[in-house]
């Protein structure tokens, strides 16, 4: 099957670079700042970063056609990673797994159906692997923007993690008089 026009591994590599910069902004926060509530998004930097990492894990499970675990068994949560250092350590390892899954996937048009089990109902979700990977990439951008807005409100000069700045060559030279 043909490779997708958008190269998910390459985009994920850029996300990983941008995430390291984001982490450098988050690491100096006091715990009180990390969990300070704001009136938008998921309310705290912690909840926002947990959401990105947890959804990445959830979409990895779907992409690799594994059963979706019950909510209580999820490896990523605010209870399991209360401090940023906990999440930081876990995410590095997860990122390598995600990258490997994206790099080894070839059947992008294959449709995957996943089941989520709730006490009273079953939810089935059906999407192509290409759609799942695209969601994984865009979901991070969306919530990263919320985390950056919170960081700005905390006085951290979080700015411009634009994709293009990691991939575009930019040469500057003085105009000769």
């Amino acid at each position: 099957m043909a490779a997708p026009a958008i190269d998910p591994v390459h985009v994920y590599d850029v996300h990983t670079q941008a995430r390291r910069r984001l982490f450098d902004w988050v690491r100096p926060l006091a715990q009180a700042q990390y969990i300070r509530p704001f009136p938008f998004g998921l309310a705290t930097v912690r909840a926002t970063l947990i959401e990105i990492a947890r959804t990445e894990h959830y979409l990895l499970v779907r992409l690799t056609e594994q059963p979706i675990p019950p909510l209580d068994d999820y490896p990523i949560s605010e209870a399991r990673q209360p401090r940023f250092a906990d999440l930081d350590a876990l995410w590095e390892a997860q990122a390598r797994t995600v990258r490997a899954a994206l790099a080894t996937t070839t059947d992008w048009e294959r449709t995957v159906t996943s089941e989520g089990h709730w006490p009273d109902r079953v939810v089935t979700l059906t999407a192509t692997k290409a759609a799942i990977a695209t969601q994984l990439l865009l979901h991070e951008v969306h919530h990263r923007a919320q985390a950056m807005a919170m960081l700005r409100l905390l006085g951290v000069p979080a700015q411009t993690l634009d994709y293009i700045q990691f991939v575009q060559q930019r040469n500057v030279r003085m105009i000769e008089q």
Partner: protein, 179 residues
């Protein structure tokens, strides 16, 4: 994972976003927030004008040097009210989509050269990189716009890509089909 398909999902999501923004008064549309580009208006103008900028770049059309001049077709001056921007963006979107759909040479690199004060700046990127940037840029700033809308009391939520391209079915526990 084709660029035009992703743009289609963004366009569908944008209709929901527009529905939320349409309900704002002009005062709310220009109310200041201490993050991002400061207002819903500035944020939406930023998305639309950068979309135009990148689609022009993909078509290898001449571009003005940054910062974009007031004469650029999308600006707070040209579209002061949301209705103005909605009209301009709705007209622009099919051309953006067509540009993405007809591009096949994604690895072709494009060079943009401009003078800025006493410097010459040369930017080089492939068409693929420019298209990814255009799509990601909208998602990033749309999140900021949604954060502002929430603070204006508008229940803006869940414009996730997957909801526009996946099928979701729910069954009572005892009636679920076997996977």
């Amino acid at each position: 994972m084709e660029y035009a398909q992703v743009y289609d999902a963004l366009t569908e999501a944008r209709q929901l976003l527009f529905g939320w923004v349409r309900s704002l008064s002009q005062e709310q549309y220009t109310q200041r927030f201490p993050f991002g580009l400061g207002t819903v208006r500035a944020t939406l103008i930023e998305i639309a004008r950068v979309e135009l900028l990148y689609s022009m770049r993909l078509r290898d059309e001449p571009l003005p040097p940054p910062p974009l001049p007031a004469s650029f077709p999308i600006s707070e001056t040209a579209q002061p009210a949301f209705a103005d921007l909605e009209r301009a963006w709705t007209a622009q979107a099919p051309e953006t989509r067509a540009t993405l759909a007809r591009t096949t040479d994604w690895n072709t690199t494009l060079t943009r050269r401009y003078e800025q004060g006493d410097k010459v700046v040369v930017q080089t990127a492939s068409k693929a990189e420019i298209a990814v940037q255009m799509l990601m840029h909208e998602v990033h700033h749309r999140a900021q716009a949604m954060s502002m809308l929430r603070q204006l009391g508008v229940p803006a939520e869940n414009l996730d890509y997957i909801r526009f391209v996946a099928r979701r079915e729910e069954y009572p526990k005892d009636k679920a089909p076997r996977a």
